[in-house]
Symmetry: C2
């Protein structure tokens, strides 16, 4: 129930948000598009998120059938996360978000180096 999005009464976009609307969900799913990864890898790939947040978001994604969790009975522990088929159906969206973000970043960085010496760190 990420932020009480309501897929039933809301529009189609809201339905999508009910699945990937969480703070770090799109980022995690995106990383998992490259393949099964263990927890520590996801941590390294998502440095702006705390360990706790990653755990929580993965739990919700699991509950929604987007990722599956594979636990190995080893010490030290090893847990791997993988997109389900359902999760993989999100791939086109994430790919577009990645592309758009890449272009956005480039644009912003260009703007920054151009007109603006002062601190517009936002």
């Amino acid at each position: 129930m990420a932020r009480n999005y309501n897929w039933k009464t809301g529009c189609d976009v809201e339905a999508t948000l009910s699945v990937i609307g969480g703070r770090w969900k799109p980022v995690l799913v995106c990383h998992l598009l490259e393949g099964r990864k263990r927890f520590g890898e996801l941590r390294r790939l998502t440095p702006n998120a705390t360990e706790r947040m990653i755990t929580l978001q993965l739990r919700e994604l699991e509950a929604d059938g987007v990722v599956s969790r594979h636990v190995y009975a080893e010490v030290p522990p090893r847990v791997e996360y993988e997109l389900t088929e359902f999760g993989r159906s999100l791939e086109p969206i994430l790919m577009l978000m990645q592309e758009w973000g890449s272009a956005f970043k480039a644009r912003r960085l260009a703007e920054e180096s151009k007109g603006d010496q002062s601190a517009r760190t936002a």
Copy 2:
């Protein structure tokens, strides 16, 4: 600074979220893909959001250059919102989210009518 997403240090997907990561932003942008709309229309189209939320989200979208705001000096007031060119560059993402959400809804509703008579209202 919606939810302190950091487009600089984060991955490309996070950069995108820094623009449309807000609670109602994707929904609003999606509605605006159909064309310029006044505030009241957006309200009707987004019944799960409060008036206040719509205002706040629109303000952030405006600050990020995604929408433009047109105020008419009339009484009662009339204000229209419209995607900027930059905002329109988000169209492919929103369209995919809409499609995916539509399929998701259909799937969920089907599951519901099938196996499950009891109240799984989630």
